[in-house]
C-alpha cells in the first residue's frame, strides 16, 4: 500500500481516481470546504454531506454551502455528537442506500469528521465489505490561530467519556487495563482520561517530531509528558506518525504488545489520519477497545486555517474476522 501522498489542493482534481460516492463532513472549520471546492463538478454519482444536527449553525452555513456546491447529487446525512446510536443509524442508511444503488467506490474527505463519527463510518465500511475507499485529509496552516503555542486550544471541557460504538473491545475481566493515548493539542484531555479510567499502565503517544505542527508545539507536548511521568507511576512513552495511518497502526500495535495480558484501550486525540491508524488496528484485532471523549466547546472562531495541501491515500480495511458479527445491508 503506497504511503499517503501530499499534494497541492489545486492539483487534486487531476489526481483523484474516479469514485461513485464522495463523503464529506460540514463543519465550522473552513477546512471542510477546501477539498469539496476542488472537487466541484467531478463526476460523482452521489455526495454524502454529513453534518451534526446538534450544531444547527453548521448545518445552516457549512452544509448548505456544500449542498449548493454539489447540487442534485448531494444528500444530507444528519449526525449527532451526543447520540452515537443515531449517528450510526444515519450513516448506515446512507451507505446501504448507496450500495443498493450499486455505488461501491467511495472517496472520503476525513478532515472535519469527529473522531467518533469517522470511526463509526469505518466500521460500517468494514461490516459491509466495502473495499474501494480512498481518503483525503486537508492539512492546517495553523491551529488556534493567533495563540502562542503553549496556549493553543481546539476544544474545552470534556463531557461523556464512552466506548466508540462498534469498537467495544473484548476485555477479559481478570486482566488489567493498558490505556494508550495518542496525545494531541490538549494535553490536559489526556490527563482527564487518565483520571477517568485509572489504568494500571498508560502509554502516552507523542506525534513524531517530523510530523508535529511546529518544533515549539512538540516541545510543549514533551514538557507535558514529563509532568505526567512525575505524577503517575508506570507511564510509558512512544511516538507515532500523524500522517501515515499504517505507520500509526504499527506503532500502536507494537505498544499494545509491550504489555501482554492487559486489556487495551486506545484514545485517539491527534490527527484524523492517526485516528484511522487506531481504527485499522482495532478492526483487525477486536480485543482492542476505542474510546472517545466528547468536547463541550470548540474553538469555532479560530480553530484552524486551511493549508495548501492535502494527503491522498487508500487504505485497505482489514477483512472481517470469522468471529465478528455481520449485518447484511
Amino acid at each position: 500500500m503506497p504511503k499517503p501522498t501530499k499534494i497541492l489542493l489545486t492539483d487534486l482534481r487531476g489526481r483523484v481516481h474516479p469514485a461513485d460516492v464522495f463523503v464529506c463532513s460540514a463543519s465550522f472549520e473552513s477546512r471542510s470546504q477546501s477539498v469539496p471546492e476542488q472537487l466541484e463538478g467531478v463526476a460523482f454519482t452521489r455526495v454524502l454531506i454529513c453534518a451534526n444536527e446538534n450544531f444547527p449553525h453548521v448545518i445552516k452555513q457549512g452544509a448548505k454551502q456544500l449542498q449548493h456546491r454539489f447540487g442534485s447529487i448531494a444528500r444530507l446525512v444528519s449526525l449527532n455528537t451526543n447520540d452515537p446510536l443515531r449517528t450510526a443509524d444515519r450513516l448506515q442508511e446512507a451507505i446501504d442506500d448507496a450500495l443498493r444503488s450499486n455505488l461501491n467506490r467511495f472517496l472520503v474527505d476525513i478532515t472535519t469528521f469527529t473522531h467518533e463519527s469517522l470511526l463509526i463510518l469505518l466500521r460500517i465500511f468494514q461490516l459491509r465489505g466495502v473495499d474501494s475507499i480512498e481518503f483525503l485529509y486537508t492539512t492546517a496552516k495553523a491551529y488556534s490561530i493567533g495563540d502562542p503555542d503553549v496556549q493553543k486550544w481546539l476544544t474545552k471541557g470534556i463531557g461523556e467519556v464512552r466506548s466508540v460504538l462498534g469498537y467495544p473491545g473484548r476485555a477479559v475481566p481478570s486482566h488489567k487495563l493498558h490505556l494508550i493515548i495518542m496525545v494531541g493539542f490538549e494535553a490536559d484531555r489526556a490527563e482527564r482520561l487518565l483520571q477517568e479510567y485509572e489504568p494500571s499502565k498508560v502509554s502516552l503517544g507523542l506525534g513524531a517530531p517530523d510530523s508535529s505542527i511546529s518544533p515549539d508545539h512538540y516541545k510543549a507536548n514533551k514538557l507535558f509528558h514529563q509532568r505526567l511521568i512525575q505524577k503517575y507511576a508506570n507511564v510509558l512513552e512512544f511516538t507515532f506518525s500523524c500522517f501515515d495511518p499504517e505507520a500509526a497502526r504499527d506503532a500502536l500495535r507494537a505498544q499494545a504488545l509491550r504489555l501482554p495480558k492487559h486489556n487495551v484501550l486506545i484514545a485517539a486525540l491527534n490527527t484524523k489520519i492517526s485516528t484511522l491508524g487506531a481504527a485499522l488496528l482495532a478492526l483487525e484485532d477486536d480485543s482492542i477497545q476505542l474510546c472517545y471523549a466528547t468536547a463541550h466547546q470548540y474553538n469555532e472562531a479560530r480553530y484552524s486555517t486551511p493549508g495548501d495541501h492535502c494527503y491522498y491515500f487508500a487504505t485497505a480495511l482489514p477483512v472481517l474476522l470469522p468471529t465478528q458479527p455481520t449485518v447484511a445491508p
Binding site: 474545552k156 471541557g157 467495544p168 475481566p173 487495563l177 507511576a233 458479527p325
Partner: protein, 602 residues
Amino acid sequence: MNTTDMRNPFAVQTPEDISADDIRSLFVDVFNDFHNINKPGHTFLHGPRGSGKSMMFRYLEPDCQKLVQGVGLNALQFFAVYVPIKNTELKLTELQRLENQNANIVLNEHFLLTYVAVRLCASLLKAQVTDANGEHAASFKSYYDTDLRRAFLRCGWTDPLPELPPSATINNSFKLLQDIFTDQYATLLTYVRRLAFTSGPVTYTGPLCGYLDFLLPLMKKLKEFAFMPSGPIFLLMDDADNLSRVQASILNSWVSCRTSADVSIKISTQLNYKTYLTVHGRTIDTPHDFSQIDISSVYTSRKRGYHDRVSQIVHKRLTMYGINRTPEEFFPPAQEQEDKIKAIAQELKARWDTEGRGFRASDDMVRYARPTYITSLLGTSKSGSTYKYAGFDQLVHISSGIIRYFLEPASLMYGEMRSRHAEATEISPEIQDQIVRSQADQFLFSEFDRWSTDEADKEEGASAKVLDKTRRLRNLIQSLGGTFHQILRSDGSERRVFSVALTDEPTQDVLEVFDLGVQYGYFHQSAIGNKEGTGRTRLYVLTRRLAPFFTLDPTSFAGYKFVTNDALREAMLRPKTFLGKVRRSGVDSVLETGQLALFEED
C-alpha cells in the same frame, strides 16, 4: 511496589497494582475511622476521587489480610473480592440499544453477574489456597459435578461444561471456573457487538443468570468450604458511579436482599451514584438496607485523625524510597517566616495580661500570630504573595482531608526538586509554595472551566441553566473567599474563617449552587447548632485548597460566620458589590442582613 519502578515516592499508582507486601508497608490502618467497612453489612463508601477508597479495598483483599494478620485464609474474618468498575468493561455504548426494551434488566444483570463471577474466581486464585492432601479439590469437584452443574443448566446453559479431571488441584478448579465465566463474558460481548449497527431487536439465546438463583447460592456454597473464612464474602464494588443507571438499580436490588451475613456488598462512589432505586422501583435506604460513610465528613470533623494519617503515609513512602527523613524534615517550613511568626506570638504572649482576648495566652498566640504576619506582608507589598505556603503541617491543612490533594502536589514538588538537584532529601519551601499556589490557581480557573462545561454537557437542553449555576458558584467562591480574606485582615476575635452557617432556611437556587460546589470539592457540607440554640443548621466549609488563592491562613477552619440566605444570593449574583459592601460596612452587617439584588453583575 517494585521500588525500581517507583521514580517518585508520591506518584499516583492504582492500588490493584501494588503487591500485598507493599500494601502492608504503605497502608495506614483507617478502620477506626471507617468501622463499617471491614464489618459484615452492606455499606456505601462515598468520597471524592483520591480519598483512599481503592487503597482501603485493596487492603481488605485476602492476600493483604493474610500477610497483615499473619494467619491462613480460613482464619480471616471475611473473604473480600475486589470488583473494579471501570467504563471499559460494563458501560459499553452498544448497551444503549437495549434501553426501553424488555430484556434490558435481565441481560444487564447477567452481564454484571458474569463480570463479578470472573472477579470472584480471580480472587480465589489470588488467595493461593493450599490443599496438601487434595481434600478441598475433591469437595469442590463433587460440588461442580452436581449442584453447580445443575445451577448452570437451570440458567439456560446449553454449551457443554468442561469436565473437571479428578487430578485437578483446587487452584486448577478455580481456574476452570474462571475460564467458564470469562468465555461467557466474551460470548456476551459478541452479542453486544451485534447490537451496534442494528436498530431492531437482536435475539439473545444464551443463558441468563440471576443474583438470587445463581451468584448468591454459588457464593454461599463457596463460603462453606473449609479453606474459606467463616465470615461473609465481601463484594468490593469500586467506583460504582461508572455503572449505567440500569446496572446501578440491579446492584441496589442485590443490596436490598439483606444477605449480609453471607455476602456483604461494599460499594464505593465518587458522590455521583446514579440511583438508589431497585429494578422494582423501590428505594434502598439507610440504615435498613445499608450503612454509609462519607470520607470527607469523617476527616473534617476529627482534628488530628487526618494529620496523623498523612504523616504515617508520607513516612512510609519516604522509608520505602530510602529517604530517612520525617515528613516535617522532608517538607520544611520557610524558617525565616516561622521565626517571625514566633516572634509575633511571643509579643502577643507578653501583652496577654493587658490586651489578651483568649482564655489563655496560648490561645492568642495560635489564633493571631499567623494572621497578623500575613496581614503585615499585605500592608507592605499589597500582594501578600511573599507569604510562603510551606511546611508539612500547612500542606496537610491545605489538602483538606483528601489524601490525593497532598500526594499529587507532593509528586510535582518532588519532580521539580529532582529537575534542579540530583538528589531530593527535602523539598525547598520555595518549591512547595510555588506548586501549592499553581494548584490553587488551577483549581479555581482551568479545572473550574473544565467541569463547569462538563456539567452543562451532561444536562442537554438545560445548558444555559447549568452554566448560570456554575457562574453563581464561581461568584459565591469569589465572594466568600474575599470575605474570609477581609476577616483575616480584621481585628476580629477569630480571623481564620473558612465556613458559613445559614441563619434561615436556604432557597432552592442557593441550595443547588452549594450542592454543585460540594460535588466538585469546593465546599464541604456539615451541620452546626443554630444561632438561637434551638436546633441545627447547615454549615458550608470552603476547601482550604483555595487558601493560597485568597491569601488565607489554612491552619484552622474552626471559625465560621452566620449568614442569611439573601446575603448568599447577593454574593452569587453581584460579587463585586458584595465585596465592596463587606469592605465598607464590615463583614457581619453584610452577612447577616444581605439584600436581594435586582440585577446581576456582568
